[in-house]
């Protein structure tokens, strides 16, 4: 299935809205450094991988769990688009 960028970013934003322990939805821009800002920490990375896999019906391989793929929503979007072919 193909997604428009907008859909991808909206879906990813849902992760931050529902992530346990966060009181309210956090507005995350496509280029926000989600790692540096602490929005995704060492626990969050596990949850984020599971979320992306389920939301987009893709599988993320161990060697793709790199900062360059997870630092921003845009990086994640690029990974997702690549995987959806």
């Amino acid at each position: 299935m193909k997604y428009a960028d907008e859909q991808i970013f909206d879906t990813l934003a849902r992760f931050f809205a529902q992530d346990a322990g966060r009181e309210a939805a956090i507005a995350v821009a496509p280029d926000t450094d989600i790692i540096g800002e602490g929005l995704v920490d060492s626990l969050g990375i596990f949850k984020l991988i599971a979320f992306v896999e389920e939301a987009f019906k893709i599988t993320i391989e161990p060697d793709e769990v790199l900062l360059e793929n997870f630092q921003t929503l845009r990086a994640l979007r690029n990974l997702i688009v690549k995987k959806l072919g």
Binding site: I35, G36, S42, F46
Partner: protein, 442 residues
């Protein structure tokens, strides 16, 4: 003793923080868990300084209120005397809003174990786990069998499960059985520690306070390099509610040189303590607790593998570095969370078990490598794990990186950090927040 179940989803070996939290997280996901603990809680354990990072794991386990209401000592930060340079840092300066703690580990660990029990895990204390049979792990219906023997009884029994989680600490039941433990030859340490009553302490303002002020003026953990140690040997001073834990971490070679064969460990330990002038000031009114000296002979080690078909290694069972930055309990809790998450994924998606396990392994190994990198006094940038450690550093927030950098500045190990991260922001934040410590003369 209640009857041990014949089978369950996951067997957890060990009732320390890693085991108790893993059990709690797994029951929370709907799995049946049997936890075996060799001792009877509350039981003694060293490692009393906890970073504020513990709280997110405690929140996830629903145990934060029980810990907060226990009234453990809240600490303000660290005071470090490293080869004549006195510096300090305060967690509040790094944006932490929840406290770091000095805890009696018998009590702290017991609270976590009781949380596991309340979550529905089956708990068997005073039971020794002998070995795990992994030969049929991760076949269609993953089947592992674990043999155990109640302490003091002659015959062993077996329990079937789908995964075994080894949180047995330095014992490392599964890791040793599989020959996974590797000792770090360049980093052979031992630790000797004991307890004093009524020790004074250093607060975040750089002043010395008597023990009785500890509720009014939060203490810091005091750390000092030992003069003969060439940057490798150090001591800790951790004030608790009734007593103070003081320990030495020293290269084994140095112990061999400095301890006579007839000298007792207690005499040797007290002699080292007396050689430290600032420590002597803190101990001016204190009494040594007779018979309190203990030791661990073997640091550091890691594991060739931290997960494989049917098993996961957590906390000290996976690896142990230098306790200098108090990351041990946080690492245990992290590994418990990661293992529970991964076991859940493996059981839901059998076809992708290898991939899930591989992500767990690389994340855990990278964290261990990062701890090792920061703790080694002379880190070799060409070490094999360097890229892995850099990646783990990159996955840390700017705040966490700033704290790591500050800790490495305090102990003259900032060269390690410089080889790991390229974050001017973290550098600036750390440099601004590490303050000189001037202790007024007597």
């Amino acid at each position: 003793m209640r009857t041990v179940p014949e089978s369950c989803d996951v067997v957890v070996i060990g009732g320390g923080p890693a085991g108790s939290l893993a059990a709690t997280y797994l029951t929370g996901k709907g799995y049946s868990v049997a936890l075996f603990e060799q001792q009877k809680h509350p039981r003694y354990q060293v490692g009393e300084s906890l970073l504020p990072d513990i709280w997110k794991y405690c929140d996830a386990a629903g145990v934060s209120d029980a810990i907060a209401s226990e009234g453990f000592i809240r600490k303000a930060g660290g005071s470090v005397d490293w080869n004549g340079e006195m510096r300090r840092l305060s967690f509040a300066d790094f944006g932490y809003t929840r406290p770091a703690l000095h805890v009696e580990r018998d009590r702290f660990d017991h609270i976590l174990l009781e949380r596991a029990r309340a979550s529905g895990a089956w708990l068997g204390e005073e039971i020794t786990v002998l070995e795990a049979d992994l030969s049929r792990a991760e076949e269609d219906e993953s089947e592992v069998s674990v043999s155990y023997r109640p302490v003091g009884e002659g015959s062993a029994s077996r329990i079937r499960c789908r995964y075994v989680v080894d949180a047995s600490g330095q014992t490392g039941v599964v890791g040793r059985q599989l020959g996974l433990r590797v000792f770090d030859e360049g980093f052979r340490f031992m630790s000797v520690w004991g307890y004093f009553d009524n020790s004074s302490y250093l607060a975040a303002d750089g002043l010395i306070y008597p023990a009785r002020s500890v509720r009014q003026v939060p203490p810091t953990t005091y750390v000092s390099a030992l003069p003969q140690g060439d940057g490798w040997a150090w001591l800790w001073h951790i004030i608790l509610r009734q007593t103070t834990s003081i320990g030495l971490v020293i290269p084994k070679a140095w112990v061999r040189e400095s301890k006579g064969s007839t000298e007792s460990w207690e005499a040797w330990y007290l002699r080292q303590c007396r050689a430290m002038p600032l420590l002597q000031r803190l101990l001016a009114e204190a009494t040594f607790c007779e018979g309190s000296v203990r030791l661990i002979r073997n640091y550091s080690y890691r594991s060739k593998q931290v997960a494989g078909p049917g098993f996961f290694l957590l906390g000290d069972a996976a690896g142990f570095v230098d306790p200098i930055f108090s990351v041990g309990v946080v690492f245990s809790m992290y590994s418990a969370y990661a293992a529970a998450h991964t076991i859940d994924r493996c059981l839901r998606q059998r076809a992708r078990r290898d991939e899930h396990r591989s992500i767990f392994s690389s994340q855990l190994q990278a964290r261990l490598e990062l701890s090792r990198t920061l703790a080694l006094p002379y880190y070799q940038a060409k070490d094999a794990g360097h890229a892995q450690a850099r990646e783990a550093m990159g996955f840390s927030s700017t705040q966490a990186q700033a704290l790591m950098y500050a800790a490495s500045l305090l102990t003259d190990r900032s060269g390690n950090f410089d080889s790991m991260a390229d974050s001017p922001e973290a550098h600036r934040a750390a440099t601004e927040r590490v303050r000189p410590l001037e202790i007024p003369p007597k």
